[in-house]
C-alpha cells in the first residue's frame, strides 16, 4: 500500500472483519496521540487507519460479576471522572491524573496506551498490580491475555495482527483500594517518566499478606516485580525488611540509560519509589 486509507466502522463486528482481511495492513486508531507522531516520523507506513473511537460498546466502565471492566476506548479523562475508578481502584486513578497533560487525556485511550507498549506506559503499571486481564477478539473468537504476559519487548505485544483489545478487566477486590502510584518525571506535566511505580499492599497483623509491585521505565517492558513480592510475602514489617526489600527492587529492575536518566540513577530511584509507596501504605 502506498497511500493511507481511513475507515470508521459502526460496529465491533465490522472492525473484526476488516482486521481479518487486512491483518497488519490495518492500523487501529482511537485517540491517535501516538499514531499521528509515528505517521509523521514515518514509523507507521501507509496503512488502513481503522478508527474504533466511534464504537459505543467499547467505551464503558462497569462492574460485572465481581470484576471491574473498562472498555478499550475509554479515555484517560473518562477514568478520572469515574467515581468507580476513583473509589475502587485508586492506583489506576492516580496514574490517570499524572498521565501526559489534560488535553492529551481527553483523547488517549486505555487500550491505545497498552497497545503502544512503551516501557513507560503509564496505564500498564497500575493495571499490572491490579492483575488485569485483557479481553481480546478476532473473527476467530475471543481469548484472554493476562497483562503480565502481554508485553514482549519495547513496543511489542502478544496481540496478533487480526486481533484487537476490547476490554480490560480485573477483580474488584477491596485490596485494590490500598494502592499508591508515583510517577517520577523531569517535569510536573507532559513528562515521559524516568520511573513509575504502583504498589498494592494488604497487611495482616503487621505482616505482609499480599503485595503487588509494578514499575515502568526501568526495564524493556512494564514490569511486575514478582521476586520482590515473593520476598515480602508473609514477612513482618520493620525497618530491616524495608531495607532488604529496597535492595531486592534494585536488583530486580533492569533499566537502561537514555536521554532522561542513567541506568544507575534509575536503579537507585526505583528503591526510593518503592520505599515511599510502601511507607505510605504501611502508615
Amino acid at each position: 500500500m502506498n497511500q493511507f486509507r481511513y475507515i470508521f466502522p459502526k460496529t465491533k463486528e465490522e472492525i473484526l472483519k476488516i482486521l481479518e482481511q487486512e491483518k497488519s495492513e490495518a492500523c487501529i486508531v482511537a485517540g491517535c496521540s501516538n499514531v499521528l507522531p509515528y505517521i509523521k516520523d514515518k514509523i507507521i507506513p501507509p496503512k488502513l487507519l481503522l478508527d474504533i473511537s466511534g464504537i459505543e460498546e467499547l467505551n464503558y466502565i462497569k462492574k460485572n460479576e465481581g470484576n471491574l471492566c473498562i472498555g478499550a476506548t475509554t479515555t484517560i479523562s473518562d477514568l478520572i471522572s469515574s467515581k468507580i475508578i476513583r473509589e475502587e481502584c485508586s492506583v489506576l486513578y492516580q496514574a490517570a491524573e499524572d498521565f501526559a497533560d489534560p488535553t492529551v487525556r481527553n483523547r488517549a485511550t486505555i487500550g491505545g496506551n497498552l497497545t503502544d507498549a512503551s516501557p513507560a506506559a503509564d496505564m500498564a503499571i497500575p493495571l499490572l498490580v491490579l492483575d488485569a486481564v485483557l479481553e481480546v477478539e478476532s473473527m476467530n473468537g475471543k481469548r484472554e491475555i493476562y497483562l503480565k504476559d502481554f508485553f514482549l519487548g519495547p513496543r511489542k505485544t502478544a496481540l496478533r495482527d487480526d486481533e484487537m483489545i476490547t476490554s480490560i478487566k480485573f477483580k474488584n477486590d477491596p485490596i485494590n483500594k490500598q494502592g499508591y502510584f508515583i510517577k517520577l518525571g523531569l517535569r510536573q506535566s507532559m513528562a515521559i517518566s524516568v520511573a513509575t511505580i504502583a504498589l498494592i499492599l494488604e497487611l495482616e497483623k503487621n505482616k505482609v499478606k499480599d503485595v503487588r509491585i509494578a514499575m515502568g521505565s526501568i526495564a524493556p517492558i512494564p514490569l511486575r516485580l514478582f521476586k520482590t513480592e515473593e520476598f515480602l510475602k508473609s514477612k513482618e514489617i520493620n525497618d530491616e525488611l524495608l531495607e532488604k526489600a529496597i535492595n531486592k527492587v534494585r536488583e530486580e529492575v533492569n533499566p537502561i540509560s537514555d536521554i532522561r536518566a542513567s541506568q544507575e540513577y534509575r536503579r537507585y530511584v526505583s528503591g526510593v519509589l518503592f520505599k515511599r509507596t510502601f511507607e505510605k501504605l504501611t502508615n
Binding site: Q3, F4, R5, Y6, F8, V29, G31, C32, S33, V35, L36, P37, I39, K40, P46, L49, D51, S53, S77, A100, D101, P102, T103, V104, N106, R107, Q188, S189, M190
Partner: protein, 163 residues
C-alpha cells in the same frame, strides 16, 4: 491526492471539505483558513494547536481530521460568540497575559474548556488545566491571573453558541 468528504461545525458554522486519511485536524483546519490554530511542534508537545471538540480541549495535531467528522469545533475565532469566551479574551488583554501571542489561541481554548466544566478552580487547578500548553514568554503568571479572574464569574447569555 484523493480525500474523504467530511462535514463538521466550526465556530457555529457548518463546513464541508475534504480531508486526507492521515491528515491531522490541525493541518485540515489551517488549510481551510483557520490559521488561528497554530502549529508549534506537530507532536502534541506544545499545545499551540489546542481546539475544543465536542466540549473537550484537544490537541488538533494529534487528532485525525477524519475524527472531526460530525463534530463541533471551537477555535479562538469562535470565542467571541460566547460570553465565557469573550470574558476570557478581555481578561487576557486586561492582565497583559499575552506577549508574543503564539501560545494564546491554544491557551484560551484550554482555559475555556476547563472553566466550562469547573467554574471555580483555584490557581493550582488552573495551572494543571493549562499544563499542556507551553509558553516561553510570560512565565504563566499573568495567564493564570487572567483565567482566575474570569473563573470567579462564569455565566452564559442568550445567543451563545453551545459548544
Amino acid at each position: 491526492m484523493e480525500g474523504y468528504p467530511i462535514e463538521l461545525t466550526i465556530n457555529g458554522e457548518k463546513i464541508c471539505a475534504k480531508a486526507q486519511p492521515e491528515q491531522s485536524l490541525l493541518k485540515f483546519l489551517r488549510e481551510n483558513g483557520f490559521t488561528e490554530v497554530k502549529c508549534g511542534c506537530e507532536k502534541g508537545d506544545c499545545g499551540t494547536c489546542t481546539v475544543i471538540m465536542n466540549r473537550k480541549a484537544i490537541k488538533s495535531c494529534i487528532t485525525l481530521a477524519m475524527q472531526a467528522n460530525g463534530k463541533e469545533i471551537l477555535t479562538a475565532k469562535g470565542l467571541e460568540k460566547q460570553a465565557l469566551g469573550r470574558k476570557l479574551q478581555e481578561s487576557f488583554v486586561k492582565y497583559g497575559a499575552i506577549q508574543c501571542g503564539f501560545c494564546t489561541p491554544g491557551m484560551l481554548m484550554a482555559a475555556k474548556a476547563y472553566l466550562d466544566e469547573n467554574p471555580e478552580p483555584n490557581k493550582g487547578e488552573i495551572r494543571n488545566a493549562i499544563s499542556g500548553n507551553l509558553c516561553r514568554c510570560t512565565g504563566y503568571k499573568k495567564i493564570v491571573e487572567a483565567i482566575y479572574d474570569v473563573a470567579e464569574e462564569n455565566y452564559r447569555v442568550e445567543g451563545d453558541i453551545n459548544v
